[in-house]
Point group: C2
Chain length 147, copies 2
């Protein structure tokens, strides 16, 4: 069950922790979204960063499948709905000011990024310039119909 | 040197990668900010999520010290400027659509969170409720003058 009370501010966290056993992220911002980080549960690799509205959060908690809110498409985005590369959620964390959640996930297919890489962070910024530091797991043309 | 060209959209990434050796995150959004994730370079623990404007990004790249933009205080936030718990940046990554950066850092003092925990994600959401899953490294009252 999810709490329906407003999310705590940073300064209320201690009080909330002492008298509540549930927490709801701070969907009270202007866009009603919080940031969501997905991290590989086994390797610790940061896979992607997306957003959640309250509905995405509640479905994620209820189903243990990662559901985000696509700001571009303005609708729920059940990760893997098109590619099949769903994320099984192994653990959920909420940060100190409750505006970011962290999901530890098992990434089906081994690639979280729509570009075909294991992680969306496949480009490293170095003094020598940008370097692609990962290998593609799939070709997006083979996975997504609209290219 | 940082590129001054506009950041690429997701669909332009391949082209950009083939003819450019620099990249600038997408500061073109309404607030001019991108999301920044700090991850412990040694352990892979996700420490915190914050934001950067162009100035914070450029200073971070130039100095290898994590600099964010505080949305609450509406100014640059040189991480550790008050607590001393600076972040030495070991690697910088930009995600596929260039609206999030990932920093791998060495966290001085062992605590990234202003609440005194190693990570801001010290609360886990479980079927039994919220559980604090970390030990405090410091007491915020001892570190921050304004409590």
């Amino acid at each position: 069950m999810l709490a329906t009370r407003p999310a705590p501010s940073a300064h209320q966290v201690d009080n909330v922790m002492s008298d509540a056993t549930t927490i709801t992220p701070a969907f009270s911002g202007p866009d009603g979204l919080v940031t969501a980080v997905a991290q590989d549960a086994a390797t610790g690799q940061v896979l992607m960063v997306a957003h959640m509205n309250r509905e995405a959060w509640e479905e994620t908690v209820a189903t243990n499948r990662a559901v985000y809110f696509s700001r571009a498409r303005k609708r729920l985005w059940r990760k893997g709905e098109e590619s099949g590369n769903v994320q099984h959620v192994r653990a959920i964390f909420v940060d100190c000011d409750a505006d970011t959640v962290l999901l530890k996930v098992d990434q089906v297919g081994g690639a979280a990024c729509h570009e075909g890489y294991p992680s969306c962070f496949f480009r490293q910024v170095t003094p020598e310039g940008v370097q692609v530091v990962a290998e593609r797991v799939f070709d997006p043309k083979d996975v997504y119909k609209k290219e």
